[in-house]
């Protein structure tokens, strides 16, 4: 008979490439003032990767740190899931390269594209893999190089997106410390946010900001409550809210709608920008590394975005 196990997050880490790119630096390259950027998005700065820092490089940096944070060695990782939507090379996937760069001798590896919900989807896949016994430890990485796909002529996307990678290790455990995922999609709204081709070799992210805002602020609060319910806790018992760092306006509205204590809401977007699949693990790792979390704290993770797609789950921190 198949054995089943619990799953736990045992390591979390982040990697932000290069120096912060401030609004004062970015504004002259586009058509809006720094003040507009802050008022519209809440973002003060973001990071852009250098030409020699591709997605697999950033992912490997974050991955190594997460494995070390979990007190594990390379031989312990059985699977790598790379959540990304901004790799230019379609085939092969980046996961095997990431595993190779870290030096993982026995890991399976695949890519998962759910854009901004990529990390939370991947976390659910990792949890399932350890719970069924398919893996002892899974390295989950959200890594994006969105700066390659933004157009200075469209400031609403040009100023919000950033680069980076966040990684987590999910391990087999006695307890169920990663809750069931609540997920869904709305493909009828696929045109609201995604890559658009403007000509040969000219592909950029385009977005209908008001429609993204409308959908996310209406759709995600019930998902949040369902994720708590499925883990057997109330929203009031959750210690931290870590939503996808789309922009500060969306985060503020979500927090207000859920009546979540403001000082317990991740707003990493302010100096990291929107890093798509990397945003949730980057925000989570920042809070964790700040020392503000206590062992056993409950965190509600919410990924949502292009697809449109969403997933959320409650986890218990180590």
């Amino acid at each position: 008979m198949a054995q089943s196990y619990g799953s736990s997050l045992t390591g979390i880490a982040g990697y932000r490439p290069g120096q912060p790119v401030t609004n004062d630096v970015l504004s002259p390259r586009t058509t809006v003032a720094p003040e507009w950027i802050v008022e519209r998005t809440g973002i003060q700065s973001r990071h852009h990767a250098s030409p020699d820092e591709d997605i697999t490089t950033m992912a490997a940096e974050a991955g190594r740190k997460a494995i070390a944070a979990a007190n594990l060695g390379v031989e312990d990782i059985d699977l790598v899931i790379l959540a990304t939507a901004t790799r230019r090379q379609r085939m092969p996937g980046g996961g095997p390269t990431v595993a190779s760069k870290i030096g993982l001798p026995r890991a399976g590896a695949f890519d998962l594209n759910a854009v901004c919900a990529g990390f939370t989807y991947s976390l659910a896949m990792a949890s399932n893999a350890v719970r069924t016994g398919d893996a002892r430890h899974v390295l989950v990485i959200g890594a994006e190089r969105t700066s390659e796909w933004i157009n200075p002529q469209t400031p609403d996307t040009f100023v919000i997106f950033g680069d980076g990678a966040g990684a987590a290790v999910v391990s087999r455990s006695e307890e169920n410390n990663i809750g069931p995922a609540v997920w869904g999609s709305d493909g009828a709204r696929a045109g609201v946010l995604g890559m658009t081709e403007f000509g040969p070799g000219e592909e950029y992210v385009t977005m209908d900001g008001p429609l993204v805002y409308k959908w996310s602020t209406a759709k995600i609060p019930p998902v949040a409550r369902q994720a708590c319910e499925r883990y057997g806790v109330s929203l009031e018992q959750v210690d931290w809210l870590v939503p996808h760092q789309a922009n500060k306006r969306i985060i503020d509205t979500l927090a207000r709608t859920l009546r979540f204590p403001d000082d317990r809401v991740a707003r990493d977007v302010v100096d990291t920008g929107n890093t798509s699949a990397a945003s949730v693990p980057l925000a989570l790792s920042r809070i964790y590394e700040s020392g503000r979390m206590s062992p056993g704290d409950l965190v509600l993770l919410l990924g949502f975005g292009a697809g449109l797609t969403y997933s959320g789950q409650v986890i218990r921190m180590p």
Binding site: E39, R40, V192, P210, Y213, K214, T217, T253
Partner: protein
């Protein structure tokens, strides 16, 4: 059970209340011909207003109507139209 009838006055009253909640520093007049741009509502705050009206009047604003709502009267007309279809 029939859907309760609402009047244009009902919609204007609710919209005035929500606008002043969203724009606490605004003390001027809000008229049917006021544009949301004149009221200094950016596009995301305009969505907040639409969401408040959706809840108040139990309607759902279709995506293709969102960008068309530029004046107070436009939103009032849309709310009444959606309610009549309910």
């Amino acid at each position: 059970m029939t859907t309760p009838t609402i009047t244009q006055q009902d919609v204007f009253a609710e919209m005035d209340k929500e606008l002043r909640r969203l724009l606490p520093e605004f003390t001027g007049d809000i008229t049917p011909t006021s544009t949301f741009e004149e009221l200094d509502l950016d596009s995301l705050t305009r969505v907040d207003l639409l969401a408040a009206m959706e809840i108040a009047f139990d309607i759902e604003v279709p995506d293709d109507e969102v960008a068309k709502v530029v004046r107070v009267q436009d939103l009032a007309d849309l709310v009444l139209s959606l309610r009549s279809r309910a």
